[in-house]
């Protein structure tokens, strides 16, 4: 793997950029690996990366049915924050957020992490009380957030309609070190680093079956033949139910569509991320000038990667009310992803009823921000066949034990 640097750009510039090597290898599959990871989204790739980096395990294949990062990792609106209510969430999301701070350097690739600040508007008394509670919880957890006044909101976002007719802004939960990053680059950077450690990242390789012997996973059937493995990690977001079915168990997960859209590019008008959870809309401005917009998920099971139009209508209506200035912008693109929702809106990082098989899923509408922390925790789980402190609370058994990590109130609709 050749290092990226200013010097490398200069040198290649002089050679008309003809000397760049492939960013990652495109290998043939081997008959067997120590660890097989299904799903080359951010979470699968980060799991592979930390298996190598933290645990010295590099006999690893990451199998991807489509293209790398073509799942939710390449479809999300890239909001990164860690202002959750419950302690286990704060721990894993803050771990992830802090790893994002140094990711470009650690992976030697610019992932454009932009800690521009994330603001969650309080637009009802109920929501305000909820955010005050989170701010207190975050103070105890060592996550730096504060509840700010409407006046401060307006200083940060002059174009906001503070005195909105339906939902005036009563303040906001503000996390100054939250922000955004380039989603594709995160997947590419991990893939490149994994490939650099000798791991196999194999695209267009769909897993269609899981074989076991004596209650222990032994191989996966794929569109490129059977591949044996000692350990198997299922990291497939919306398709987790499918893979669990192949492995012979069920998950407390429903797959639904979540959509996003972007506007035509405009001059800089918004330099923080604003989320308005009561009215179901959130917005940020990309470096290209497009407004990146998202809202609520569909209410019914769906694998079609297109959502219902009325959700877009609701989102856009809410944002036009909050930011009247954007009312005449044209929208350029709209898309959907299939997100994996759990009942308590918290993820699952866990052993499963099949020995040697682990799941990392349930990140739902908000797992982009968690990618590095999740990979870190998942690698620990797979390497030791036991969860470390970050993953332990997120086990599957919490549903049986009634030990929920309830973020459905704190996270509202969103991300």
């Amino acid at each position: 793997m050749r290092r990226y640097s200013a010097w490398a750009i200069l040198r290649e510039g002089l050679r008309l950029h003809r000397g760049w090597p492939r960013v990652w290898e495109n290998p043939e599959t081997r008959a067997a690996y120590d660890v097989v990871i299904v799903g080359a989204g951010g979470h699968g790739l980060a799991t592979a990366y930390y298996l190598g980096k933290n645990h010295g395990i590099t006999d690893v294949a990451v199998l991807e049915k489509g293209w790398l990062g073509g799942g939710n990792t390449g479809r999300n609106t890239t909001i990164i924050r860690s202002n959750y209510l419950q302690d286990p969430s704060a721990a894993i999301y803050e771990k992830a957020r802090s790893l994002y701070e140094t990711m470009s350097r650690d992976l030697n690739m610019n992932v454009m992490f932009s800690p521009r600040g994330v603001m969650m508007l309080a637009q009802t008394e109920h929501e305000k009380r909820g955010y005050l509670r989170i701010a207190e919880a975050n103070a105890l957890q060592g996550v730096s957030t504060e509840f700010i006044s409407p006046r401060r909101v307006r200083e940060l976002v002059p174009m906001i309609n503070i005195h909105g007719p339906r939902y005036p802004v009563l303040g906001a939960l503000w996390q100054p070190r939250g922000g955004t990053a380039r989603h594709d680059a995160v997947a590419w950077a991990y893939a490149r680093a994994c490939s650099g450690m000798g791991m196999h990242v194999i695209q267009q390789c769909e897993v269609t079956g899981i074989e076991s012997r004596g209650g222990r996973v032994s191989a996966v059937n794929t569109s490129r033949g059977t591949i044996r493995c000692n350990r198997l990690a299922l990291v497939v977001a919306g398709h987790s139910g499918r893979l669990a079915e192949m492995a012979g168990f069920r998950l407390p997960i429903e797959s639904v569509a979540l959509q996003a859209l972007v506007s035509e590019p405009v001059k800089p008008m918004l330099d923080v991320v604003v989320m308005a959870n009561t009215v179901h809309g959130y917005i940020s401005q990309s470096d290209k000038g497009e407004l990146v917009i998202g809202g609520g998920a569909d209410g019914f099971n769906n694998y079609t990667q297109r959502g219902s139009f009325h959700h877009i209508e609701e989102t856009v209506r809410a944002l036009c009310e909050t930011f009247p200035a954007i009312g005449r912008l044209r929208m350029m693109r709209q898309w959907g992803g299939i997100v994996d929702m759990t009942g308590d809106r918290s993820p699952i990082l866990s052993k499963t009823p099949l020995a040697g098989c682990y799941v990392n899923c349930g990140w739902g509408t908000g797992g982009f921000k968690a990618i590095p922390g999740s990979g870190w925790a998942m690698a620990e789980l797979v390497a030791n066949d036991a969860p470390g402190p970050l993953a332990a609370p997120f086990s599957l058994s919490r549903f049986r034990e009634g030990r929920f990590i309830d973020e459905s109130v704190a996270a509202g609709v969103a991300h």
Partner: protein
């Protein structure tokens, strides 16, 4: 947009008129059930890619519950029937089998 016909009042309602209610035909675990059985009833879901049976309520209409059989990979609707029906009607099952020979049926 998903359009389902309410079997009670016969109206073809789009999803904004309906409230989704999750997987249908779950067997409630009784008072003597073990933790594992109760977990399976409360939380574990089929979440299939393909034929799915789902509860819906005609929230903005007659207010009654019904069950829709539809495909989660295409949004095709096979049929609807009242929620108090214990198992999918035989003619509906036949119709689904004709369209989806690979369907394994409800366990």
């Amino acid at each position: 947009m998903l359009i389902l016909t309410c079997p009670h009042c016969g109206i073809a309602a789009d999803e904004t008129e309906l409230a989704p209610g999750g997987e249908a035909h779950l067997k409630r675990a009784g008072p003597e059930a073990s933790d594992v059985e109760f977990e399976a009833y409360m939380f574990a879901r089929r979440n299939p890619l393909g034929v799915h049976f789902e509860r819906w309520r005609h929230a903005m209409g007659c207010g009654k519950w019904f069950i829709a059989a539809r495909a989660t990979d295409t949004l095709e609707v096979f049929g609807t029937y009242p929620a108090r029906t214990e198992a999918p009607p035989a003619d509906l099952v036949r119709r689904i089998r004709r369209k989806r020979p690979e369907w394994e049926g409800l366990p």
